[in-house]
Amino acid sequence: MTGADGLSAWRDKLWHAAVAGDEYAAADAALAALDHDISMETLLLEVVAPVQARVGLEWEANRITVTQEHTATAVNERVLAALAHHPVARRAAAAREPGAGRVAVACVDGEWHAMPARILAEVLRLRGWRVDYLGAQVPAPHLIAHVHRTGCDVVALSSSIPTRLPAAHAAITACQATGTPVIVGGAAYGPDGRHARLLGADAWAPDGRTAADRLAAGPAAAGQAMDYLPHLDDEAYTMVSRSARRLVRHVMSGLEERIPAMASYTAQQRHHTAEDVAHIVDFLAAALYVDDPELFGRFLTWTAGVLTARGVPAGTLLPALDLLAGRLEDFPRASALLAHGHAAVNAAGSESLHPATERPHDRLRPKPAEARPVHAARGHAAHLHSG
């Protein structure tokens, strides 16, 4: 990080405190930044959010452990809680006008990463909104009950894991069906927000500041609730999604035939391989849902990077893709996606085909939780939820 904006020193301070699990030092750094005339909003959006994004990047590069990742996140959350009680935040809340707009900020069901949404909620509070922060993984029925109960003006929905896009779509249409517009953000919607448009969101924001500006620009009318995506008529998504676990089994037995070394796998190695495959199938389903080969390609490129960082050749992913392609050859869109994925893996790594035999590490596969901050950070550090 360069010091061009004069904030990198603060980011470094917060980063070191967070990754060390030192909430005292972290809170001190944040409060000291405020004392140095850095505004609360800048602190939230340009110090805390990038530090959180960095947590994911560092895990991706295998420079911190899962424990450190979770600990750093917890420290950042405590910093946010401390900032929410700071006099600056209290004054903003006290100065709120009686007719201020009301916004519900929530993460889509299955979305565990609450930080970006929480930062947005704090920024909106600072800007005079009446904010209901519903937290991580909000099931759509809860969200809708909240919308009916409060009659909020707008819903801000954060999702960073692309595999949750179908759930996000359901939540968006359900909100719109109540006449409430939805602004979405987060890495799940793609670098340019293309999936937000596809799913009919009323607005998309690449980062927290844009989201706040967009909301300040005035009320958007809720779009027509519409959940029809014509490309789903080929039933490829339905097939892959409904039979995901059967597909994983098929791939697993195929791998055992193709790769003799698997016979000597421990139960745990076998389990992690199955998890890897399940993750590929989940992203395949998501890519089919939004009809975007790049989503699948990005996931595989990223996975290849994570594997490489841990000393595993990216080529280990290829047999699984081939087995899936054999199973799904009746579905042209699925075949095209798998071919695209194959090319992405080839481009990302060597052609070495020694799958998973010498795994040095039993935490190779990104679980969605780990994938999340990394996705947030990857190339677009300024997502609604990271920015």
Binding site: G135, P141, H142, A145, R245, A369
Partner: protein, 552 residues
């Protein structure tokens, strides 16, 4: 080529043409009438040959004639046989069709009065149906009363009047009001006003049919109704918004003095709209009332907020089994010490079953334990009394397993007394990643007359955590292949990687691993509590602990 004029006038069809039942005018390019048959002269006595068309016929017809000859006019449309004009002649509506020959045009006129009337009626009906359809879908989409009022006022102002006002029966002497002016902006407010000041309004709010618009003097409208700078009221309609047996409110439509008064048909239509709006508002009110009741009754059953336990960090996660529910058969409670230096008590338990019925039992257990707090120094005694209360409680028999954790700070360390009553023993996560099971066991509660229990005492060094959890975590079914249980072993393996984590991160991680194991499938209630001895001095400024899970 034979000229049309001469052909019509001179050939042997002339008499047929003259007597034709339809009026026909032959007009030259210069706009002078060349011929008119008998029917035309009866309709337009001035349309004698030689008279300028503009003097003899209404303006719409002479305009149409000019257009037929206008080179700028679309030649395709001009030459099309179907080109026709329509307009009034006297009280009737006529359709005029031109037939060209050279420069002259023969205008054939047909009486289209009935057609016009039917077309007009059809258009109005279509517009009204479309409006009611749109209104219904907009009104039905929301179960929020304020929003329903806004939608009603906006739709009424846009489609039925210049301005509209929705007023509800008073709540605490104030009438909720939504007003929409000609600019389409809705203002919502609560007003102390006298409905008697508006003719018909008090009746409408009581469900009586209000008087027809023509009996209401618009000058009687008070300022909160006829707002300055918006509309100078020329006419006004008051309509009841019918509700579920009782009136939902009233709708007042205002039209400016420059516009036509409300017709009887419009008043009837306003009532049709009001019926839909009233139904939607009543449903919204009913929903709000029911949601309020549920909220009030459920408040006691929701997991409590995490409170400060003076030198001990606590984090909790809670996820009920049903997506639509916020409560279930798992529960926890956190009782801070009555006085500083005394023990805190944390309880985590699991009532057999799930859903509302199990949740109701958790309420009873939590209340009983609250009453037994003074005895918390003796876990066995507390459990015996709780067991007795459940056994004698009668009604449906449900049993419960639970863990009691009494907590006291001892310098930087935290001392815990842990007692399991038929529940999975707590797990202790040491700093280095070693995971121990607390050596406590006991009988589940609510089944046997006599129960036994063994209490374990555990000391946490700074950074170490005691984890209490329900079997919804370990018995989660799923995994990559879909048919495996998450299991104790996997939980232990994961926890070994969690040494030194803050309690929020640890509790979240456990809940997350189990939830993701399940994937999109069904799961049981899940509850997790992490009790941690702070790694560093406690940061009291950081008090922003929320409720567990998404129940906030």
């Amino acid at each position: 080529m034979t000229d049309l004029t001469s052909r019509l006038g001179l050939d042997d069809t002339g008499s047929v043409w003259r007597g034709a039942p339809y009026p026909v005018l032959v007009v030259s390019a210069a706009g002078v009438i060349a011929q008119a048959n008998d029917a035309a002269l009866r309709l337009l006595p001035g349309a004698v040959p030689g008279a300028p068309l503009a003097d003899a016929v209404p303006a719409w017809l002479s305009r149409a004639h000019a257009q037929v000859h206008d080179p700028a006019h679309d030649p395709v449309a001009r030459d099309a046989a179907g080109t026709s004009a329509r307009g009034p002649i006297g009280a009737a509506t006529f359709e005029a069709r031109p037939v060209r020959d050279g420069d002259a045009v023969a205008w054939w006129l047909t009486d289209a009065t009935d057609l016009e009337r039917a077309t007009q009626a059809l258009r109005v009906e279509r517009e009204r149906t479309a409006f009611l359809d749109r209104a219904s879908s907009e009104l039905l989409s929301s179960l929020n009363l304020d929003r329903c009022m806004e939608v009603t006022a906006r739709l009424a102002a846009r489609h039925l009047a210049d301005a509209a006002l929705v007023i509800l029966p008073p709540a605490r002497r104030r009438h909720p009001v939504a007003y929409c002016g000609p600019d389409g902006t809705v203002v919502r407010e609560e007003l102390v006003v006298d409905p008697e000041s508006v003719p018909g309004l008090a009746e409408a709010l009581q469900g009586y049919p209000p008087p027809p618009s023509r009996w209401i003097c618009p000058a009687a409208a008070p300022g909160w109704l006829a707002r300055d700078g918006h509309v100078e009221v020329g006419s006004m309609v008051v309509t009841a918004l019918p509700g579920h047996g009782v009136p939902a409110g009233a709708l007042v439509l205002l039209r400016g003095s420059g516009h036509a008064r409300f017709s009887e048909g419009e008043e009837v239509f306003a009532r049709l709209f009001a019926a839909r709006a009233g139904a939607a508002m009543s449903a919204a009110r009913l929903y709000a009332e029911q949601a309020g009741i549920t909220e009030t009754l459920m408040r006691e059953l929701l997991p409590p907020r995490i409170c400060d336990l003076h030198g001990v960090e606590v984090a909790a996660r809670y996820r009920p089994s049903e997506h639509t529910a916020r409560i279930g058969g798992d529960f926890y409670d956190i009782h801070p010490p009555a006085e500083p230096g005394q023990e805190s008590l944390i309880v985590l338990g699991d009532v057999a079953g799930k859903g509302l019925e199990a949740a109701a039992v958790t309420g009873k257990i939590r209340h009983t334990l609250q009453a037994l707090l003074p005895l918390a120094g003796d876990h066995q005694r507390v459990l015996e009394l709780l067991n007795g209360a459940l056994l004698t409680g009668g009604g449906h028999t449900r049993f419960v397993t639970l863990v009691l954790a009494s907590i006291r700070c001892a310098g930087d360390r935290v001392r815990l007394r842990l007692t399991s009553a038929g529940h999975a023993p707590p797990l202790i996560i040491r700093t280095g990643g070693r995971v121990e099971e607390a050596r406590t066991e006991g009988t589940l509660i609510g089944v046997l007359d006599h129960i036994t229990s063994v209490t374990d005492t555990v000391v946490l060094d700074p950074g170490e955590t005691c984890l209490l959890y329900t079997d919804g975590i370990t018995e989660a079914m799923g995994g990559p292949l879909g048919d495996e249980m998450f299991g104790d072993q996997r939980l232990l393996e994961e926890l070994r990687r969690c040494g030194g984590m803050p309690p929020e991160a640890l509790a979240e991680r456990v809940e997350m691993l189990s939830s993701q194991w399940v994937g999109g499938g069904d799961h049981d209630d899940m509850a997790v509590i992490a009790i941690t001895a702070p790694r560093l001095a406690h940061l009291s400024a950081v008090g922003g602990h929320g409720r567990g899970g998404f129940t906030a």
